[in-house]
């Protein structure tokens, strides 16, 4: 069985599993990191959104063999440590705005939001409605409006 190694939330980890196992199942079932949620397995619902080397991606659609030992994977569990706080500003904004209803999609929403905010920041501008309109993350409770408010507030604190 091949061994796969990468950095997960700041720690180097190794797993033995076939090459074609999608990273989401490596994270959830083999490593017990359940922040990234399983919604579709088709890269459309975005509930599993996490970061690879600081960029948003969907581990449901990445074979573990595509991950290099030097790659840094960050899930919602590891997000606060990226800023050295108990909660990332985007998570605090989520609480301040009472965003979550059932909560299932929210880890993915927050990880996508952080990536979006970083991208806008790198381009030297504030998050716009056009940026927010690019988010594909499904929220079946329909919390979208508060998500928009929270992202703008969270991005301003990043």
């Amino acid at each position: 069985m091949p061994t796969h190694s990468f950095t997960l939330n700041g720690k180097q980890v190794s797993v033995d599993c076939p090459d074609d196992v999608r990273l989401l199942w490596v994270l959830r079932d083999l490593l017990g990191v359940t922040g990234p949620k399983y919604g579709c397995g088709l890269e459309v619902c975005k509930a599993c959104t996490s970061h690879i080397n600081g960029k948003a991606f969907n581990p449901c659609s990445v074979p573990v063999s595509d991950i290099a030992p030097t790659d840094e994977i960050t899930t919602i569990e590891g997000l606060p440590a990226t800023v050295g706080r108990d909660l990332h500003p985007m998570q605090q904004a989520w609480l301040d705005h009472d965003v979550a209803q059932c909560g299932y999609c929210q880890p993915g929403q927050i990880m996508a939001a952080v990536a979006l905010a970083r991208r806008a920041r790198a381009a030297g501008r504030d998050i716009s409605d056009a940026d927010l309109d690019e988010l594909r993350n499904i929220c079946r409770c329909g919390t979208y409006f508060r998500i928009r408010e929270a992202i703008k507030a969270g991005a301003a604190e990043m």
Partner: protein
């Protein structure tokens, strides 16, 4: 504006009404299942066309009425019907033809390629790293 008698958690109630508005938009315009031989052709959230971020009103305010009775009346999916009707009327005004069946996009050409309904089950995509942001 919503009157539920005695609101227990006004912020939660606001959110519930917002969710109802989002559902109403989906049900009026785009979100449905097409049944063939007893099976839905829709195989994912993408196919179902539920409201996504780009369909959301950028200004959405919910007014929770102060208590009008001493008892909570319940809220449930209170927000759905009125939002559904408002979207349908807005569509009618904007296009000059009042829709009479819903969702409005249901009878148009399918907006997706149906997934197979017999084995093998399609495997998850492998191109996730091509879509980072």
């Amino acid at each position: 504006m919503v009157d539920v008698g005695l609101p227990i958690n006004p912020r939660g109630l606001e959110a519930q009404m917002m969710g109802g508005v989002i559902d109403g938009i989906a049900l009026a315009l785009s979100s449905s299942l097409h049944l063939k031989d007893g099976l839905p052709l829709e195989g994912s959230w993408d196919n179902y066309f539920y409201t996504r971020q780009w369909n959301v009103p950028t200004d959405l305010r919910v007014v929770v009425m102060p208590p009008t009775t001493g008892e909570p009346g319940g809220a449930g999916e209170f927000g759905v019907a009125a939002a559904f009707a408002a979207v349908a009327c807005a569509y009618g005004r904007a296009t000059g033809s009042m829709p009479t069946s819903f969702p409005i996009n249901h009878d148009g050409p399918l907006g997706f390629e149906p997934l197979p309904t017999v084995p093998p089950i399609p495997q998850s995509p492998t191109d996730g790293l091509d879509h980072t942001f």
